[in-house]
Symmetry: C2
Subunit: 385 residues, 2 copies
Amino acid sequence: MITAVEGVKCYGIKEGKNGLGIVVCKGKVAGVFTKNRFKAAPVIVTQEHVESGEIEGIIVNSGNANAFTGEEGLRNAKKMAELLAKKLNVPIHKIAVASTGVIGVQLDMGWIEGKFEEVFANLGTSREHALSFAKSIMTTDSFPKECVIRADGFTIAGVAKGAGMIAPNMATMLAFIFTDADFEPYELRNMLKKAVDRSFNVTVVDGDTSTNDMVLLIATGKNKVDRTLFEQKLTEICIDLAKMIAKDGEGATKFMEVRVKGAKNDDEAFKAAKAVASSVLVKTAVFGNDPNWGRIIAALGYSGIEVSEKLDLSVEGFKDGKSVGSVDLVKDGKSMMNEDKAREIMKKSDEIVFSIDLKVGDGSGYAFGCDLSYEYVRINSEYTT
Amino acid sequence: MITAVEGVKCYGIKEGKNGLGIVVCKGKVAGVFTKNRFKAAPVIVTQEHVESGEIEGIIVNSGNANAFTGEEGLRNAKKMAELLAKKLNVPIHKIAVASTGVIGVQLDMGWIEGKFEEVFANLGTSREHALSFAKSIMTTDSFPKECVIRADGFTIAGVAKGAGMIAPNMATMLAFIFTDADFEPYELRNMLKKAVDRSFNVTVVDGDTSTNDMVLLIATGKNKVDRTLFEQKLTEICIDLAKMIAKDGEGATKFMEVRVKGAKNDDEAFKAAKAVASSVLVKTAVFGNDPNWGRIIAALGYSGIEVSEKLDLSVEGFKDGKSVGSVDLVKDGKSMMNEDKAREIMKKSDEIVFSIDLKVGDGSGYAFGCDLSYEYVRINSEYTT
């Protein structure tokens, strides 16, 4: 929970589809934002506020994305920031604001203003406070996503939401990461960008990049810490949160990890892994416990990377974190005729790992995803009705 | 039917998942092939053969893609070509060979050789002969795809297969187009490339680009014809075949067309239209008759094109080719609150057209697709089991 970091106070409420959450925490800040050309109003506002390098609070609503809402949307996003800024007696640019939910509808500011006092009055530092915030930012998420890492001399804690519209370049994915480590904003930005590229940006649920994504990293600066160790732990926590999002993929019955080695370089390895994890045909095959490795080959082929016909491909299954077996599907480019064994392993598993050795070079990479089920179709065909 | 073009003889059979089809037709030839890096053996062989500029026959099997099958696969593809070359008493490079089906399994050459005589002996020029060929190349297709256009002084006839693994850059999509017009191979190639870019390459079922795609254009050269008119009719027939493929998208209940105008240029318009037609979230919304236009906005935003917040967006529904109504969803960037009307129209329709005016420039374009249903998931999770 984020309150594991000293100086973090928070609370959140959820009423039906609407949620409101607040975090109060003074610190240096860096952010990574969606690349969608239709940036939601809160993204535009927060991107500007974060440039000042320091914030004192975050206000988030769920149920409405405040995206494609024009001038009125921008005014509302600023109003949200203002509510918190006034209470904390700080300039508005010290507040970050985020939204997630339906696109194209104006915020119900009456509801937000009406609930603000209640949320603010209940801010606190307990585990329950952290959980209430984690729950308040959920939309189609089926569980709250929290993670804490305690390392030598510092703590990192993060909270995230996201289950749909998740794609390689961010998604309706919000993540707020707090630490007591001491870094300058430019250092935080560099480290966060790298960590996000190797975690959230290789996580695919449906390939759609949302208008609202943001990851914020806030450092309270209590402890001087080793940069290399911090970078490592920051990437770790981003990976943990990203995996939770993939596991909670809308309608997902299985988590999928794709590991690629032997690529021309790391970038090609990540690109190949993402192509496999993104393939709708691979995702439906995983749902059906079908070791249809031809679809993996096809995805590697159209990913645009350098390939060789001598590749190895194996599958391993896990249930509750424990291996239930692994088997080679392709060795030196030849089918090992192990489809039946693979099917049995896949049936017993809630986590599927495909490992690919391209045998072209030394690059390695990975991607996270999930299967595509009937339930995904149900959720997404009935979302606004 | 392809036998509408003088000089085309064909026949095909289907036994369970396996099919074998033959076309005999002497003519100048051009081809467009998959960009997948793992090109199937028949693609490699045919790409080379087509370079000679002239062919005399085509042999196609369905049920097995002969892809990722190494040296043995290449030998088998050549063997298939050889079977027909010997019968026609022509060099092997005068034969095109194509395959579609499961990846990574060696061809059952015994079956192909065993059936070859029967298919060859039954070649003919009737409508039934054309239909038998169209059926023999089907895999998960639910109907054969044939089209004929008779224009001033010439005929174009085409046959295609494809229902899954269809993506912007070709797909497990085979199309063979015949004409009695007279053009040189380099002319055919230029015209075919342009026509494919504006038809098959803007058709999306699941976004996966197959290892096996090819489109061949064969011109018998009986009639000198106007090039502009021919180009127009060639594009028309490619669009007709591409639409049939989208309509037959695996598990599809609705055909979807996305029309974009007001883009910076035509390329951006096509790019935007493809992004919308490819979005898994848009596809599931169409399945659920959900006018969730926020997902269209999000797709336009991540497509990478120049956008403005002043766009217009409307939806029109068709049933059996007749309009059942249309309604504005967004006008000058503002929601028209017509979701209920749109839902009613979508419910009654088997064809949905989204029209978008980006109001940025003069570019226009379009894309074809279909919805994503429970049935798509069923088909693709159970394909090899």
